[in-house]
Symmetry: C2
DNA sequence: CGCTGCATTGATATGTATCAAACCGCGTGG
DNA sequence: CCACGCGGTTTGATACATATCAATGCAGCG
């Protein structure tokens, strides 16, 4: 079913439990980011509507983008036409890091909703960050977080069953909302089942079945007639569901 | 079998074909990196032996590390004990970016071979890079490449069959060798089948079977008695194999 | 020499993909 | 206003890729 991570010895846990930053720490950091950018760099604001691109793969790189509002996906494109949703991005997230090394963007960044992005020229940002060191710190932290996030995706993808991946997906989304001070007991997926499936490495039918099962188990609910909104009565229960799926018989061993 | 990437319309290809940098461009960049570090920052060299850690998850972050020689893996750890190989790293690669944001490393970095890493204090690097802008450019490019690489892993993981993932894994490894001016017609996997499987999201038996099939199809060969060395008569043929696995019937459709 | 860890191969089980049909909500145009 | 079409979703039946379980083989090493 899935690749076991267990090795011979008992699993070694990270020395420090990986707790998320405090409730308002993230919101504070985002506010700080936007404030610093506004104060020290030339930014151009741009409203984007559903389906519009912030940038496209192949476009020559010159700017980074920070999400002021809205919800975005990044789609990685292979030369042979395969496409893969590799990231979901909310307020405060940066877009475009993958362009720095290559001199051109490697992904599409697509708005899933009406939103606003703040665009800063990369060279201007570098110039400003020599004068204001905290700016550079923010930039590096954002890139670092992006790397961590991608690796966490890799981990989920490789170690969780389809049902657990969907549960984990919802849990992570709810966490991202809570981090930003938004309500996380009800989230609006502005993605089709096919998009979710692409992101999670499964087919749209499997996503649909997983959601149905989660709903049957009362871990989520569909309040509206349409199935775009998902109610999450207890986010922690979703996490517990993921853990349970890892060790079906915790008492035995 | 696998998640289809195809959407309704014909697949849109990246505007510019994603060609790798020229043969010696990478080797040149690596040499430049090591030279700049040596000239402008205090570095501590450290020889590490197989199985030793450069750093471990949870350790407090203070330094970045550049591989001078050898071969390393990074292993992501979940609080529940799952562990996942999320990256393989060769000469010139940086280690430790994931620690910047959190203030502590999020992965284990483990030597798979005897090698040498150059360690630089992060704050010293920042200080030096204000004086020497190219240093900062190198750092950002390295982080950017890391992000791109993780996303490419995600793409392969989600869109390729097990056999194709193994072929792609070997192809990418050979490319990394060629980039560094090393021979790429024969590579020494210093990983067990279990480690390869963990990295590629499959079991060790599936890795073994895939390698046997590739060998049967003459895409690879095992020159030695042991099966750690893999001969790759034609790297391009491996890429073609991956492509073929994507479209079994290229003439139809 | 006989462990011991790793690799290979086979038989079988199972999770998820694939194929197919019906349903639903919604906008459009008669 | 309703009929219709259409994209998206759900659900079922079946196929298939890969996991799991099991046995054997192989190489290095004390």
């Amino acid at each position: 079913m899935l690749t076991t991570a267990a090795t011979t010895a008992a699993p070694r846990l990270p020395a420090v439990t990986a707790s998320r930053p405090g409730q308002h720490a993230v919101a504070e950091r985002i506010a700080e980011t936007l404030r610093l950018l506004q104060d020290h760099v030339a930014i151009t604001r741009r409203v984007v509507h559903t389906g519009e691109h912030v940038y496209q793969a192949g476009e020559s790189f010159g700017s980074l983008h920070v999400i002021h509002s809205g919800f975005f996906k990044t789609v990685n494109l292979a030369p042979d036409g395969r496409e893969q949703v590799v990231g979901l991005h909310f307020k405060g997230d940066w877009l475009g890091f993958d362009g720095i090394a290559a001199g051109q963007y490697g992904c599409d960044a697509v708005a899933m909703d009406t939103g606003e992005v703040w665009t800063v020229r990369y060279d201007a940002l570098l110039a400003a960050s020599t004068a204001h060191a905290p700016l550079l710190g923010l930039l590096h932290a954002a890139m670092s977080r992006e790397i961590t996030r991608d690796r966490d995706s890799l981990l989920s993808l490789c170690t969780l069953s389809a049902d657990a991946r969907v549960a984990e997906f919802l849990r992570a989304w709810a966490d991202a909302m809570a981090d930003r001070g938004l309500r996380n007991d009800q989230i609006t997926l502005r993605m089709t089942r096919a998009e979710i499936g692409n992101y999670l490495g499964m087919t749209l039918e499997t996503v649909s079945r997983a959601l149905s099962r989660l709903s049957r188990d009362k871990l989520i609910a569909f309040p509206e007639r349409g199935r775009r909104d998902v109610q999450i009565p207890d986010v922690r229960a979703l996490g517990a569901y993921v853990q349970r799926s890892l060790s079906p018989n915790p008492t035995l061993q």
